[in-house]
């Protein structure tokens, strides 16, 4: 979610657009406007468009989309003057780095806000919390090139980190600096930490943790040095292009940097073939060559012959379908006419669900009320409350709460919980559930099997085994099946009042279990596997 000032957005657009219209156009372009408060707009940017994480990037696309200035915007960069050496030592800890220089930038409040916002958002999503990508933006005038990216021992180098006034070594920063504490996990297990220094050994940055105070960007700053480090070179180059274009949109000049033996950023335009006839095959609307060209330009592309020219800040365009989607967006989803096409097929229930439906119908015929409960539960409710030992089950390795530590293997505990929650309601409460449980089964690909079960509970002052058995036998009669029960004591049932049958059990729930669920009336029940 990003926050955008409408006036600023209109300023960048070079056109005054009503707030409502603006919100509507942004939504129809593919970012959803979640809220508007005064001049502030809160926009959910989807992960395929990281170039919209700044107001500049959003304005750039909107400008073509609403037709202020359609077509491809090409970005140029001047030849490199600065070099960054990459030492082999970083390979084991944080292997990749990309850089760029920005000249003649006008640093003001809105730029600083935009800069911070895009850094934070890129870190969070694209950068997988800085592990995959971390950005440093520096005042170039405070340091002396060439720069070096290398890994050093945790206590080897000290510098004053951003926001502090004393020098700390890298180990101390990880232990004591707030950012160090937050992001120490990204360097876990490393014996040397990455660092960027200048010719004199002054520290620009300790990625992905913190920059040096030395290169802090102020309003007087005119030239910036950008570093991006991380685990994926592809991601770094994509993010670098997004960031430098944002500065260029503010009127700054991009200057390349020699990083190792590469010259970055690479702002070249990618060309991919597009066949407009394929739009109809995927979207269902006919688009002529002429229309197609116009639609592509609305989305910031160019067209050269049969090839679409893709802007350098777009990394999400993998093949033709991506461009066709953009063409559909430019065409306007609101202009797509839903079409009723009959794809001739025959519908039907899944046999397991058909069986479940039949059982539900039969049980309702006996006057029972259906309930629906959760499949997630915990051992206390599922086993201990029923005086059962923990059995084979699917356990959750990362539950957020103690309520959801396992998947149920039986429906009875859930139904007893419902009785417990309804003890002030009128009795009898004769309830049932037909639902899935999950059993461990080593033979299956997923090591488990979903099993459809049915469970009935009868709670009333005179609930008893025989009355419930009548329902059980009635159910089997309805299903056209035979049932034979065999006496069997179960831990959660009254002794001598329970029995088993093929894939099920029936009985009167024991008073100790009722007490655990705080149920004040007798309960008889049965449960069986359906499928």
């Amino acid at each position: 979610m990003i926050e955008v000032d409408c006036n600023e957005l209109c300023g960048l657009l070079g056109k005054k657009v009503e707030k409502d219209k603006l919100a509507e156009r942004i939504s129809m372009m593919g970012a959803s406007v979640e809220d508007v408060q005064g001049d502030k707009m809160f926009i959910e940017v989807l992960p395929n468009r990281p170039d919209w994480l700044s107001v500049e990037g959003l304005a750039r696309s909107l400008k073509t989309f609403i037709g202020v200035e359609p077509g491809l915007r090409e970005y140029k960069a001047s030849e490199p003057k600065i070099e960054v050496g990459v030492d082999k030592s970083v390979e084991r800890v944080r292997p990749h780095i990309v850089c760029a220089v920005i000249r003649n930038v006008k640093v003001d409040d809105s730029l600083i806000r935009s800069m911070m916002q895009i850094q934070e958002k890129l870190h969070e999503t694209f950068g997988r919390k800085r592990k995959k990508l971390a950005i440093g933006i520096h005042d170039l005038s405070k340091v002396t090139p060439p720069f070096t990216y290398k890994a050093v021992k945790p206590t080897e180098i000290s510098f004053v980190p951003l926001g502090m006034n004393i020098a700390m070594n890298l180990k101390e920063i990880l232990e004591r600096h707030p950012k160090g504490i937050d992001y120490a996990w990204t360097l876990e297990g490393a014996d040397a930490y990455p660092i960027i220094t200048d010719k004199n050994g002054d520290v620009l940055s300790f990625p992905p943790i913190i920059n040096g105070e030395l290169t802090r960007v102020y309003e007087e700053t005119t030239d910036l040095f950008i570093d991006m480090t991380g685990s994926s070179e592809k991601t770094l180059n994509e993010a670098l292009n997004i960031l430098v274009c944002m500065f260029a949109d503010r009127g700054a000049r991009i200057e390349k940097v020699k990083v190792g033996n590469r010259i970055l950023p690479d702002l070249s335009v990618l060309e991919k073939e597009i066949e407009f006839a394929n739009v109809e095959k995927l979207v269902g609307v006919k688009v002529s060559q002429e229309e197609g060209k116009g639609l592509l330009e609305r989305m910031g592309y160019g067209l050269a012959g049969k090839k679409a020219r893709i802007p350098c800040y777009r990394s999400d365009v993998l093949h033709e379908d991506d461009m066709i989607e953009d063409i559909a967006i430019a065409y306007g989803y609101e202009n797509l006419k839903p079409r009723r096409t009959i794809f001739p097929t025959i519908g039907g229930k899944h046999p397991e669900e058909a069986m479940a439906d039949e059982v539900r119908e039969a049980l309702m015929g006996f006057g029972l009320q259906e309930v629906m409960t959760f499949m997630l539960t915990n051992e206390e409710k599922h086993y201990h409350s029923l005086l059962l030992k923990e059995g084979k089950r699917v356990e959750i390795s990362n539950p957020k709460t103690k309520e959801t530590t396992m998947v149920r293997t039986s429906l009875l505990p859930g139904l007893l919980e419902i009785l417990s929650g309804n003890k002030h309601e009128k009795y009898p409460q004769n309830l049932f559930e037909v639902g899935d449980v999950v059993m461990v089964d080593e033979k299956e690909e997923t090591k488990t099997r979903a099993v459809k079960k049915a469970c009935v509970v009868c709670a009333d002052s005179n609930a008893n085994y025989t009355a419930t058995k009548s329902i059980l036998e009635g159910l089997f009669r309805e299903l056209g099946k035979k049932i034979e029960v065999k006496g069997k004591d179960l831990p959660f049932m009254i002794k001598g009042r329970s029995s088993e049958f093929a894939r099920g059990y029936i009985g009167e729930v024991g008073p100790e279990v009722l007490a655990k669920f705080e149920i004040d009336v007798p309960v008889s029940c049965f449960e069986l596997e359906l499928y």
Binding site: G30, S32, P47, N48, R49, T125, R128, K132, S232, E280, K281, L282, V283, G284, V285, D321, E325, A328, Y333, E334, P338, R339, R340, T341, I342, F343, T345, I346, G348, K349, H350, R360, M364, G365, E370, V371, M372, F374, M375, L376, V394, E395, I396, S397, N398, K400, T404, V407, I418, G421, N422, E425, K426, Q429, L431, E445, T446, K447, T448, A450
Partner: protein, 484 residues
């Protein structure tokens, strides 16, 4: 004039004493209170009696009063402790300081104690009270046993009234029934009490005894006792409705594993292995178990498409982690491998799981409305047509589509329905055409229209709920009374 048996009993009782309260009538007729109330209401409607209602006050014990009755007044407890020779300082060991303070105030009023040089001593009167009741105790017991409190004790009553929560004064309505002139006339004409029979029995029918009895006339207009039949859970009704709409539209229902391998839940759907949705805080991972490998060709194809598109090292190990499926798209994805003759149209309405803390708008498990259409000719506008048709059959005529993004569809749309009450558009979920990166590795060379929408959302809107947990709380009050 037709009179019921009970009405006759009441008239006859009033003949002896023409003005009686309900309590008196219970005594004089021997009928239960409910019958007297009902019958006298009928008599009043026939203008045979007048009913006057007086507001009266009744004294009952409040919570402190009940406590004192069971455990003794504070002053009694202190008195007992003093008898055992406890000093003022030691009193606080057995009783709270507040209780001791209250007790001493009241003991002093009774002249039962004196304080000399900081020492609390029993007086002569105090000694006496060890053997007899204090006046407040007498009054409390009288009230507890609903006995009349004599005039001499009135002052004590006032004291108790002022002492916080000992007594409670409750208003109640006393009904007084009095014969009217018409009532007296009717009685004068003579009332014959015949034994009335309420239930006709098989025996009476068999023996012909029914000829000799009078069957009591019913008060046919009074409300009957409440009974609750068995019915579907309200949300199941909606699920079943959705299922039948799909089936009407020619869709076949499918089911798939609830515990699913990451391969089918994520990888086959082109979700990169470091994608945020795969993180622990969003997805439930299964402890100590690993999925078996899917067919080698799918494994290879999926690995290849990930590595070529995303440029990273795809790990089989990560694909075999078991999760609780985060969407039923895992199930439709498996269906792709089974596709033979086109077109294919399948759906599922089933449980999915997200690692969420449950609150009024979040559940950790919920239903997803899922479907796919596989056909060479299927396009985005057909998808919109199917969704529009589906929701209109459910009663949602206002539906719109916006561009969106999902790793496995291209183009992608977000489906929204209009909430008439709240006057705004609500997100239902996503839809789109499966990416080539999804369908090709699984052997499909056709377009696959797909959607995965929230199941609870439309229900929530229809029933105007304000807490999503209501659906699974199964409150009998709600389930029994909710209707369409």
């Amino acid at each position: 004039m037709a009179l019921s048996e009970y009405e006759k009993h009441i008239l006859l009782a009033l003949e002896k004493k023409p003005k009686q309260t309900t309590l008196e009538l219970i005594d004089s007729t021997g009928l239960p209170e409910a019958s007297i109330n009902r019958a006298s209401t009928w008599l009043a409607s026939k203008e045979l009696i007048d009913i006057k209602e007086n507001v009266k006050e009744r004294i009952e014990l409040d919570f402190e009063g009940k406590d004192y009755l069971a455990n003794g007044f504070p002053e009694r407890r202190v008195l007992e402790l003093l008898k055992e020779g406890k000093t003022i300082a030691e009193l606080d060991d057995s009783l709270s300081h507040d209780i001791v303070k209250i007790a001493i105030v009241w003991l002093k009023k009774l002249n039962a104690v004196s304080i000399k040089e900081g020492k609390l001593e029993l007086t002569k009167a105090g000694q006496d009270y060890l053997k007899k009741r204090m006046p407040q105790e007498t009054v409390l017991e009288l009230i507890a046993h609903k006995k009349v409190v004599s005039k001499e004790m009135a002052q004590e009553m006032d004291h108790l009234k002022k002492r916080g929560s000992i007594l409670e004064f409750k208003e109640y309505i006393e009904r007084v029934m009095e014969l009217t002139f018409r009532g007296k006339e009717i009685i004068k004409k003579g009332i014959v009490l015949e034994k009335e029979i309420s239930q006709l029995t098989p025996d009476m029918l068999a023996t012909g005894k029914w000829r000799d009895v009078k069957l009591r006339e019913y008060e046919v207009e009074v409300p009957a006792p409440v009974v609750y039949g068995g019915k579907k859970h309200p949300f199941r009704k909606m699920i079943d409705k959705m299922r039948s709409v799909f089936i009407e539209m020619g869709f076949r229902e499918i089911k798939g594993p609830i515990v699913e391998s990451s391969f089918w839940n994520f990888d086959a759907l082109f979700v990169p292995q470091d994608h945020p949705s795969r993180e622990m805080q969003d997805t439930f991972y299964v402890k100590d178990m690993v999925a078996g490998k899917p067919a080698e060709k799918y494994l290879d194809n999926v690995k290849k498409v990930h590595e070529e598109s995303w440029k990273y090292k795809w790990e089989t190990k990560k694909a075999l982690e078991l999760v609780l499926r985060t969407h039923t798209t895992a199930t439709t994805c498996r269906e792709l491998t089974k596709a033979r003759e086109l077109p294919i149209k399948v759906f599922s309405i089933d449980k999915v799981f997200r690692n969420e803390v449950i609150d009024y708008k979040h559940l950790a498990e919920f239903y997803q409305v899922e479907g796919i259409v596989i056909d060479k000719e299927a396009t985005l506008v057909d998808l919109l047509g199917i969704l529009k048709e589906f929701y209109s059959k459910l009663g949602f005529d206002k539906i719109r589509f916006q561009p969106s993004f999902f790793p496995y569809t291209e183009p992608s749309v977000e489906v929204q329905i209009y909430h008439e009450k709240k006057k705004r558009w609500l997100e239902l979920g996503g839809a789109g055409v499966f990416r080539k990166e999804v369908v090709r590795p699984l052997g499909i060379e056709a377009n696959v229209l797909a959607w995965g929408l929230g199941g609870e959302r439309p229900f929530f809107i229809k029933k105007e709920l304000d807490d999503i947990r209501t659906i699974y709380k199964n409150s009998m009050e709600w389930i029994r009374n909710v209707n369409d």
